[in-house]
């Protein structure tokens, strides 16, 4: 049985791979995008982009790059969820939607339990800028610093200012409240801030990390970032060791060049710079973000989500229908996830390998 369709009509796998190879090889500057894949899938995809002298981007690059922009302009303090779980006596949750970005957050960080390392103490949990009602978690005592999304940058900046003993333009009552929270942060033995770049911009992350840096002058404080969707962090890691750079990297000159504007997937497609695309979204079949509808398109996605237009090849879901190495938020490390419901569908890497094997010989390897 074939798992491929062309403009919604079933075609054989062999024809699909042949056609995919033809489309990508014919392009002057093909784009490998989406990249919602496990590490092996990302490795294959990046090697493919390199061989074709195209470019690659991940569908959640915006989020990875918000954190990364802070890393490479200022630096960061980070730790693991495990360390937060066993040691963090003060936990600062930052921004709205954290349980959406990381459903296991409260359980994994064991916020209802005492710390284990560095002395057994009850934790204090502060949440700055939660969504309405979000900070009501059963079994947890959470102090909140209310702030809408629009107010969050200013409120975080004020908190940082009070941690550093600098004046803020708040009412006396509001400043007093904030001072109490600042005092809690400064009195932490090993404080941990948790944030998700998906809900924040780089300047907020930088503000937060700036505060953490200042707290480390007298005590220990660090952070746990929540990574982007669709394997973003694992793909980022593979991209870094393979090319030296994160996604949004191109190989037009035969070596990697990284530019967050130049190699952004939507811009490449909508400007016409990319003239064919391989879109990979193996986790959930997320669709491409670009507007242009007429770029020759090859999609690798879940079975049953075939697009009406273009070539669609169904692949398995990483870590569910096949064993896959991916970045685990719960340990902040690469782990092998064993398949829970194995299928016969190809892995992302296998599908790319099959395309790779069908390029004509005039494409150098």
């Amino acid at each position: 049985m074939s798992n491929a369709t062309l403009d919604g009509k079933s075609i054989s796998s062999e024809d699909a791979y042949q056609l995919a190879a033809k489309i990508l090889q014919a392009a002057r500057f093909p784009l490998v995008a989406g990249l919602g894949a496990d590490v092996a899938g990302a490795q294959a995809a990046i090697l493919l982009a390199e061989r074709l002298r195209g470019a690659f981007d991940h569908l959640a690059s915006r989020d990875s790059l918000a954190d990364l922009e802070v890393v490479r302009s200022a630096g960061v303090f980070v730790t693991t969820p495990n360390e937060a779980r066993v040691r963090a006596d003060v936990v600062l949750l930052v921004g709205p939607g954290l349980p959406t970005y990381w459903p296991g957050i409260f359980d994994r960080l064991a916020l209802d339990k005492d710390t284990v390392h560095g002395g057994e103490t009850k934790r204090r949990v502060i949440w700055i800028g939660p969504k309405r009602g979000e900070a009501k978690v059963e079994g947890l005592e959470i102090e909140t610093i209310p702030a809408t999304e629009a107010e969050l940058p200013g409120m975080l900046a004020a908190l940082r200012a009070r941690v550093g003993g600098r004046p803020v333009a708040l009412s006396a009552a509001a400043a007093k409240k904030l001072d109490a929270h600042a005092q809690t942060l400064k009195a932490a033995r090993f404080g941990v801030a948790v944030w998700a770049a998906a809900g924040l911009d780089a300047l907020i992350v930088e503000m937060l990390q700036g505060m953490i840096g200042e707290l480390n002058a007298t005590t220990r404080f660090t952070g746990v970032p929540i990574g982007g969707r669709s394997g973003a962090t694992g793909v980022l890691q593979a991209s870094a060791w393979m090319t030296g750079f994160p996604p949004r990297t191109g190989f037009g000159r035969g070596y990697p060049e990284h530019d967050v504007w130049r190699f952004e997937a939507s811009r490449l497609v909508d400007s016409g710079e990319a003239d064919a695309a391989l879109w990979i979204s193996a986790y959930d079949g997320e669709t491409p973000p670009w507007e242009s509808a007429d770029i020759p398109l090859v999609t690798l996605g879940p079975a049953g989500a075939a697009t009406k237009r273009g070539l669609y090849i169904a692949v398995g879901k990483p870590g569910e229908s096949y064993d896959a190495v991916e970045f685990a938020q719960e340990t902040s490390s690469l782990v092998l996830r064993r398949a829970t419901a194995p299928t016969e569908l190809p892995t992302v890497a296998q599908a790319i390998e099959a395309i790779n094997a069908r390029f004509s010989e005039d494409l150098p390897c």
């Binding site: 490479r72 693991t80 033995r189 060791w241 750079f245 994160p246 035969g254 685990a328 719960e330 092998l336």
Partner: protein, 544 residues
């Protein structure tokens, strides 16, 4: 296929060979001259030096901290040229692929990544799997892990600790143990900002000395061929020569390897209260044959420091060039990434450079001292050829010394040292010694049966040029480098040991992970299935 290299100057210290001769390779091994057969491939290597493939015993080439450094410093590694056919990503600067290519071009065929955190071992192996051509190995970091510190606090038996060590090394797929600022990373989490040899880790009641001594004994008991690889306390601190001397005494005559000792060869003399103590440290090492060291030579230029000594890296942050860094409090050691620039005009950097060379030149036995720049901490591994040249020429050193700040020369014995390394000593230090240090019985040597990893260098007066671009390199008998260029990729192996131990420790660890982390211990496994098609493991024998 039978390959012959004829007429070269063969330098093979393991077998005492230092003369013109022929070498035969077949089926990935070095073979005796076969009778009555002519070679399928014949290379005239007259005018060339023939050595075994070199072995780098300590180079940070893979893993989470290295990858953080890549992401921290995109400006440091812009690529500039397209690659050759058949070598994807080989010119992608600082990539795993480029790492394999660059090592191979210098005639290095085995490299050990010395700092694998047990909970990030799979990541390190994924990266090592993407390093082409060369064989890889790694060391597992213990000494700031709660399980060990608890065991020491509880006064557990040496057998129990040995079982834990053996299990951890096996599970992480490495060649042995590294211990990095024992207790110091844990102390830093508890807000200590310095940590000495006899300071006590809060809550655990054990000292740095006790931690590494227990790991040293466990290493012997488990039969790990490589002695405990120790990154001492007080790295980079003025006056830390005392720490180094006390640590050598604390080794108590048992085998121990001290990493990048140049960073511990600092006295307090002079108006800057910073002087080279290289001569004192070298004398101590000469008198303690149980100790081996690698130097961690500083080479002038821009670089980045990557270390699991998170306390030290935090203290370095204020001097970062450019001013940024990553401080990672890991499940045990964690790590820090701090960029830095060593300048020949900087008094402190020049002292560091001189101290490293003093160690190389004053340690008498080349089996006791190893090449490293602690890549990339003292400088990138690509500076090794320049370092070879410095060791081989007193005149070249004198030229460099003329460029140092004048007061530096009063704080080092380097100007008085005339020793020049011979090719034989270079081969000892980069081939024979490392093989013995890691228990490799079939590499670093050129006798029959050894792995056919062979480097051929064109004899020339420019020794740096000679070692930078090998004329020919064979990996497992296959030609991979010609005239300093990688011509094709081969897949290297990852070397590991498989020590025996009492499996009862596994149940105990399962319960420990479940209780402390609420996670199955298997989350941190390095399953071979995860590395399929990337790297195959090859076993190195244990001592018992």
């Amino acid at each position: 296929m039978l390959t012959r290299l004829h007429g070269g100057h063969v330098v093979d210290p393991v077998n005492g060979v230092d003369q013109i001769g022929d070498l035969y390779l077949e089926d990935g091994r070095i073979v005796a001259p076969p009778e009555g057969r002519s070679p399928d491939a014949d290379y005239d290597v007259s005018g060339h030096v023939v050595m075994a493939g070199a072995i780098d015993i300590h180079s940070h080439i893979a893993g989470g901290n290295v990858n953080s450094a890549r992401l921290l410093l995109p400006e440091m590694h812009r690529s500039i040229r397209a690659r050759l056919d058949g070598t994807p990503l080989s010119t992608a600067k600082w990539s795993t692929f480029e790492t394999g290519r660059l090592y191979a071009q210098m005639g290095f065929t085995t490299v050990v990544e010395p700092a694998v955190a047990p909970h990030h071992a799979l990541h390190a192996h994924m990266e090592l799997g993407d390093v082409p051509i060369i064989d890889k190995g790694a060391l597992t970091v213990l000494g700031n892990d709660d399980f060990l510190l608890r065991a020491l606090r509880a006064g557990e038996s040496e057998t129990a600790i040995a079982d834990y060590v053996a299990q951890t090394v096996e599970a992480t797929g490495t060649l042995g143990l590294k211990c990095i600022n024992p207790g110091g990373a844990e102390a830093f989490k508890q807000n200590m900002r310095s940590f000495g040899l006899d300071e006590i880790v809060p809550f655990y009641g054990v000292t740095s000395r006790q931690i590494f001594q227990s790991l040293q004994r466990a290493t012997g008991r488990v039969g790990i061929p490589h002695p405990l690889h120790l990154h001492m306390n007080n790295l980079g601190v003025a006056g830390n020569i005392e720490t180094a001397l006390e640590t050598i005494d604390a080794a108590d005559g048992l085998p121990m390897h001290l990493a990048h000792v140049q960073f511990y060869a600092y006295g307090l003399e002079g108006k800057n209260a910073f002087s080279s103590a290289g001569a004192r440290l070298a004398a101590k090492i000469n008198a303690n044959k149980n100790i081996s060291v690698d130097v961690g030579q500083v080479m002038f230029g821009d670089t980045v420091t990557i270390s699991s000594d998170v306390l030290r890296q935090f203290n370095s942050l204020s001097g970062a060039i450019p001013k940024k860094g990553v401080i990672f409090d890991g499940d045990a050691n964690g790590g820090g990434v701090v960029p830095y620039a060593y300048r020949i005009s900087n008094y402190y950097n020049a002292i560091q450079w001189a101290a490293g060379l003093e160690l190389f030149l004053l340690i008498e036995d080349p089996m006791q001292v190893f090449f490293t720049t602690d890549h990339p901490n003292g400088g990138p591994f690509t500076t090794y050829p320049d370092l070879f040249a410095l060791l081989m020429s007193a005149e070249l050193r004198a030229q460099w010394m003329e460029r140092l700040p004048a007061d530096v020369l009063e704080m080092t014995t380097l100007p008085s040292i005339k020793r020049e390394y011979s090719l034989y000593e270079i081969a000892t230090m980069s081939r024979a010694g490392p093989a013995r240090l890691y228990g490799f019985e079939d590499r670093g040597r050129l006798d029959d049966g050894a792995i056919a990893d062979v480097a051929v260098y064109k004899q020339q007066t420019d020794k740096a040029g000679m070692f930078r671009n090998a004329a020919l390199v064979f990996k497992d008998g296959e030609l991979v480098v010609r005239d300093g260029a990688v011509t094709r990729y081969t897949k290297g192996k990852t070397l590991r040991i498989r020590p025996g131990y009492d499996r009862a420790i596994e149940k105990r660890l399962d319960a420990y992970y479940d209780e402390l982390y609420g996670l199955p211990r298997s989350a941190f496994d390095v399953p071979e299935a995860a590395l399929a098609g990337k790297s195959v493991f090859a076993e190195v024998a244990c001592r018992n």
